[in-house]
């Protein structure tokens, strides 16, 4: 997971907001609204195929395309075909914004599926808000956002941690070592984690952030040895994850006594670090490739049949896949002459479907998704074993760490 430069982007997004105010909304009011026409429904697919996050985003592109192809092969939506317009924003937030403008303004897409990093989401946000269009964002992220123009189908902190942290305390103990990459996502996750730990009477022995791309963990490991935590709570991302796990292994630390607990280590990261270095460490997420359900078997086999038998599905590619079906479900309810982003948004509020991870629902208040938290342990063969399968789905609360704020249908409110 690389969601860097969000701080910087926040500034850019603020600039975008200022220009929204400066340019009179009236200009776009009717003429600007995208609309499905001529018996086809145009959607944008905006995942990087090149650049630093190209590899992971390519898998999101593939999951999205797979779902679109499946829907079209089954007759489309009310007889209309979905026409995907694929763009490559090259892992660059500025290019994301430019391509988003093209998709929304010149292609007239009624929705765009895209983004992996928070930086890229923040960069396209002004485009969607200004043009009253709809962006579908599949990645787990740090929350604290309440846009009416984004459908968030990935997990927010409360959905990954509410079950995970008490489980870790119960099974391993109360001393936590927090380590993350130095940017907004790990800091927000840790904020929420510290809150939960406080409630459980657990302690944080050390909280530390390493620079993005950091690969020398010797002093971190010395600190782990000297503080002797029960759990290492890691939100380290990108190639640093690989270095951290491999150096943990080399240092002879034992996952049975002092496991790493992560929110970002998926089948992808495990493949990059090798099963040996991943084995025995835990991840919390709503989806794992090994999850047993007829829907998931169908998803995995269709994905591998389309893109290659060695390909893995993971907790960001699964939402990329099911959100296209949510889109279909919403558009189905609309008259052919009335397929526009605002009507799709209204139709998707409260929508439910059976996704590979289980039955999910879009929360009408904050447009985030009700998901099924799971806790799994990585195994040497590169797959996970699900240990705890939540009995109930969990409501999304993007402001869980900020009790005085809440995201409701009208927007962000202070309580």
């Amino acid at each position: 997971m690389v969601m860097k430069r969000r701080d910087f982007i926040r500034g850019t997004a603020a600039l975008g907001a200022v220009s929204t105010i400066a340019a009179p909304q009236l200009w776009f009011k009717n003429s600007g609204l995208a609309r499905a026409q001529n018996g086809e429904i145009k959607v944008g697919v905006l995942f990087s195929l090149t650049g630093t996050t190209g590899i992971i985003e390519e898998s999101l592109n593939k999951a999205t395309i797979l779902a679109i192809e499946e829907i079209n092969a089954a007759g489309g939506i009310n007889g209309m075909q979905i026409v995907p317009v694929v763009e490559d924003p090259a892992s660059d937030p500025a290019t994301f914004a430019e391509k988003a403008r093209k998709l929304v303004m010149s292609d007239g897409c009624v929705s765009v599926f895209g983004s992996y990093t928070s930086a890229s989401r923040k960069a396209v946000l002004p485009v969607f808000e200004k043009r009253e269009n709809l962006y579908w964002y599949p990645t787990l992220y740090e929350g604290r956002e309440c846009s009416k123009n984004v459908i968030y189908t990935g997990a927010v902190p409360n959905q990954q941690q509410d079950e995970f942290i008490p489980w870790l305390v119960q099974n391993f103990g109360k001393k936590f070592f927090l380590i993350g990459s130095n940017y907004i996502y790990p800091q927000e996750e840790n904020n929420y984690c510290k809150k939960l730990l406080e409630g459980l009477g657990a302690e944080v022995v050390n909280e530390e952030y390493v620079p993005l791309g950091h690969s020398e963990f010797s002093s971190v490991i010395s600190k782990i040895k000297s503080t002797e935590p029960n759990v290492i709570f890691s939100t380290v991302v990108g190639d640093s994850v690989v270095a951290l796990h491999r150096q943990y292994l080399a240092a002879g630390l034992d996952p049975a006594k002092m496991p790493m607990a992560s929110l970002t280590t998926s089948e992808n990261e495990v493949a990059a670090m090798g099963g040996e270095a991943a084995a025995g460490h835990f991840t919390s997420a709503p989806y794992f490739m090994v999850h047993k359900s007829p829907e998931n078997e169908k998803f995995v086999s269709a994905y591998q049949a389309r893109w290659g038998a060695d390909k893995v599905t993971h907790f960001v590619s699964e939402p990329s896949y099911f959100q296209v079906y949510l889109f279909k479900q919403a558009v189905e309810k609309l008259a052919a002459s009335d397929i526009t982003p605002p009507t799709i948004r209204e139709a998707v509020k409260g929508a439910e479907m059976i996704a590979p991870q289980g039955k999910i629902r879009i929360e009408k208040d904050n447009l985030h998704t009700w998901l099924w938290p799971k806790i799994a342990v990585a195994k040497a063969d590169g797959q996970f074993e699900v240990l705890v399968d939540s009995k109930e789905w969990l409501a999304p609360d993007p402001y869980a760490a900020y009790p005085d704020q809440k995201c409701v249908e009208a927007g962000l409110t202070n309580i």
Binding site: T52, G54, I55, N182, E208, Y209, V210, P211, G213, H214, S215, E216, S218, S219, V220, I221, S222, K223, K225, S226, D239, S240, V241, V242, A243, R246, Q247, L249, A250, A251, G252, A271, A272, M273, G274, E276, A277
Partner: protein
């Protein structure tokens, strides 16, 4: 005491990796005066070479080292013969050319092998830890340390006690004059560059089990390598050693006392201050003018 020893060992380990990365650059930059921006990519190729030998031929890390050294060395020789030899009196063009070569190598790897992160298996005998005065340390890191020290001694011997080393020093001081004495400067330069590149390849192979292997990995290494060489004093191979371990200890200790982000910043500030007051680096080898 325990804490102190732990930190000294951590610092030695970080220092040994820095030295490993910088040694090849110390030869190429220090002895030949070529600013080789593709150094990081030679390191990257070493790592990928080890990965490929393991994935396709089932070779272990240790046996791959020989192949990687000669393979990357050969590539270095080709680069020197094909590009750099025409640019010896144009340092700025050399920077640009080697940087371009680095970008090309990165993209070639990305296009052929793919951009996914890779890893290299540690040799099984070295996966455990050993205890030094009661402090547990990874055997692999100890192995890297010993290997680097041996490599350094070998390099020192090569430069100072062999015919080749003497010829190199002669060529560096005055290549026309040494040509008059029957030394072929082209051959010497080519071989030296190849040796430096080979060392970079070895560095890549040895760091691969501890870090991730990706087409862009070289970028951060080339920066570290330049810091070490510049701080130690260009042309002084002992300076390189001293500065590698100094930086290692500083990074390790500051990282332990605060965190790695602060350590990195403070070390950089330290280097800038030192270079400001001692532009020639910590050690200067005396060259008769």
């Amino acid at each position: 005491m325990d804490f102190l020893l732990q930190n000294v060992l951590t610092g030695l380990s970080i220092g040994s990796i820095l030295l490993l990365i910088a040694l090849g650059l110390a030869i190429i930059y220090g002895s030949m005066g070529v600013i080789n921006m593709a150094h990081g990519e030679f390191v990257m190729l070493g790592a990928y070479g080890t990965w490929a030998l393991n994935a396709f031929f089932g070779m272990g890390l240790l046996s791959s080292l020989v192949v990687v050294f000669f393979g990357v060395g050969l590539l270095g020789w080709l680069v020197e013969r094909g590009v750099i030899q025409f640019l010896y009196r144009r340092p700025l063009d050399t920077i640009l050319a080697t940087w371009g070569i680095g970008v090309m190598l990165q993209q070639i790897v990305r296009l052929t092998v793919g951009g996914e992160l890779r890893y290299v298996e540690m040799p099984h005998a070295l996966t455990g830890t050993i205890s030094i005065l009661g402090t547990e340390i990874s055997s692999y890191r100890v192995f890297v340390f010993v290997f680097v020290v041996a490599l350094f001694l070998l390099t020192w011997y090569l430069m100072n006690r062999t015919r080749f080393g003497m010829q190199l020093r002669a060529v560096v001081q005055n290549s026309e004059m040494s040509a008059c004495f029957g030394i072929d400067p082209k051959r010497i330069y080519g071989l030296t560059f190849a040796y430096g590149a080979g060392l970079a390849g070895l560095a890549g192979a040895l760091v691969a089990p501890l870090k991730s292997v990706s087409p862009e990995m070289g970028t951060s290494y080339v920066i570290d390598a330049f810091f070490v060489v510049v701080l130690g004093g260009v042309q002084s191979i002992f300076g390189t050693v001293a500065s590698a371990f100094l930086l290692g200890e500083a990074t390790g200790t500051l990282g332990f006392l605060w965190n790695d982000t602060i350590a990195k910043a403070l070390v950089l500030v330290g280097i800038i201050v030192l270079i400001r007051f001692r532009p020639q680096g910590l050690f200067v080898s005396k060259v008769r003018g």
